[in-house]
Symmetry: C2
């Protein structure tokens, strides 16, 4: 592990994206999205993804300087063509529309086609929560989830996220893949030489496997809930619901029609679909924030089964991680990440990040 | 098991509710909601619940002849006071508002306070899907779900449901508790004398248990996903999200503040919260229904890991069960259910159901 000043990591990511042709604002917004993932403790969606975006720009699969546009609009909805820009560009565009509509009619519901990977889903929900609204964000992704009983994958990890503002600076924050776990967790078990818990992943025959290496090679994740006897079909249903709101609604690629996941950037335009929702709780019962905060505190104060493991409210993990990051002023990266970033700096002739300790 | 003509079971439930004072329409709508659960193969939410509603009317905890009313309204939202009517009465009232708003502005989002148990959540989503819309319905329920790491329950089984119309008469239908399983499944394992799969339920110390009898007695369910190592906190997060949309938004009772579950009807008004959403997919990309149907068919045609267990699309189980019910014209009930219904008929001086075979 090595530490890098948070501001320097942000600068580096912005520079890399600019060096391959992204305009300053697009590069900055995408870099802010990535550093936020590193800041709140989800490194899989941070600097780790940079090269993927860079390669998609180099290959022409992503066009960072296009403009997203509204194709259809009603009082509370909009249908947006991302026009193949970076995920952060169109997600700001679309969530801003949802927020404005929510302030006018109570709800804004925006679907997006023609997009690229848009990072941590929770980043977009939180954008609405920061404006006093309930926010939701969904995206489809490359196939990795095997529907219950299926040998093969047919849906992505299709995350859903929800954020809402409580009183006293509390924020409800839920950002979850609809698979049991992300691929990164399997990779981690493999590196540690440990087996997998049941319910994470399948082998090439479609059977549950606890062999981390085989699971990683197969790349076929089980839905949240695991096997059929533990209601894995609910996780499959949730992933399908996310696809309903994203690709099926927006007319982007969907499910089995999405290109497979790779960092090499040779797969052509992703044409992903997203969905952004904002709702103004002022339209319902007064005292929303107080009730939410009361709930969050009640959950934290529940007696834990194991005294050393206190109960966490949704978002507590991310809140704690971000406070730690901010107090240190640095983000930590594994050696492999630092090495590949140094190589990328060289390749793009960009000033490398400085490892401070 | 014994069979009863579907129409007779509907008649019986309507009569029982009328006999304790519910007006004809309210009784009819509640009975239709219950028979639908028996029809699609979810008997826990059918006739099985009748006595619970009847007792709540007798005790005065539920006031079936009140009128629900709109407390606040915007172009796309409404806040409704159920005024303690039966769940079916206010759910029709609220989902009709959501549907009308969706047809006008694209989205309708309605929250309800002061309500009673409103049956199978999917019934309300499907009401919107039958009108060509995406429908969603959520409700909070009495505490049964233990947040990850907690010894005790603090949320209900908080179901979420989504339905949407495909082309060629396909319907996407997802109706799921956010716990791994419902209490009824634990009861079934206990009756069969079998142990529980991991990840279903906790013992009084907050540890996972596979002892069906102990689990049933404890009444503390694990969230979808099971333990922490299989991402049970995601199921907890989903249950909390449902509460955000229901009790926290509507100002009804919520989470730990909801009365505990009992059939005896001595707990005072339930003051439950619901949320109903309708969205018109016509506001997004043309071809919504075709894409949805293509997806549903693709999932069904995926090669199964076990050839005897074909992959099911969301709603296939319910569709199959309802076709079977309709072809037979009868619903089947376990002996215990038939006995308690006969006793109820006697108690209320209502014509009993006729067991036809």
């Amino acid at each position: 592990m090595g530490k890098v000043a948070t501001a320097d990591a942000l600068r580096f990511m912005t520079d890399c994206l600019k060096s391959v042709g992204a305009a300053a604002k697009a590069a900055q917004q995408q870099a802010e999205l990535l550093i936020e993932a590193d800041r709140v403790g989800h490194p899989s969606h941070g600097l780790n993804r940079l090269e993927f975006y860079v390669n998609d720009i180099i290959s022409g699969a992503c066009k960072p300087n296009n403009q997203p546009k509204i194709l259809k609009e009603s009082a509370s909805t909009a249908w947006v063509d991302a026009n193949n820009v970076l995920g952060a560009t169109v997600s700001h565009f679309a969530m801003d529309i949802a927020i404005n509509k929510a302030k006018q009619t109570g709800v804004g519901w925006v679907t997006v086609k023609g997009s690229n990977h848009n990072g941590m889903a929770g980043y977009w929900s939180k954008k609405a929560a920061d404006q006093g609204l309930m926010g939701m964000a969904f995206t489809n992704t490359s196939p990795l989830l095997a529907p219950t009983r299926s040998k093969k994958s047919a849906l992505g990890t299709n995350p859903l996220s929800v954020a809402a503002p409580g009183s006293d600076k509390e924020t409800f924050y839920l950002d979850m893949a609809t698979t049991a776990v992300a691929v990164g967790k399997i990779e981690m078990q493999m590196r540690k030489g440990e087996t997998l818990p049941k319910g994470w992943a399948q082998d090439p025959d479609g059977k549950e496997t606890q062999d981390a290496e085989l699971a990683f090679k197969t790349g076929c994740l089980m839905p949240l809930g695991g096997g059929e006897d533990t209601s894995g079909y609910k996780g499959f249903g949730l992933a399908a619901m996310v696809e309903l709101f994203c690709g099926i609604s927006s007319g982007s690629n969907y499910g089995h029609k999405i290109r497979s996941w790779s960092h090499s950037g040779d797969g052509g335009p992703a044409n992903l679909g997203h969905c952004f929702i904002a709702v103004d709780p002022e339209n319902f019962a007064p005292g929303f924030g107080d009730r939410l905060t009361e709930c969050m505190r009640h959950w934290r104060e529940l007696e834990p089964a194991d005294k050393s493991l206190p109960v966490l409210a949704p978002g507590d993990k991310e809140k704690k991680a971000s406070q730690l990051t901010d107090s240190r002023g640095t983000v930590s990266y594994v050696k492999q990440q630092l090495d590949s970033s140094a190589a990328l700096a060289k390749k793009l002739s960009v000033k490398p990040m400085e490892v401070v300790e």
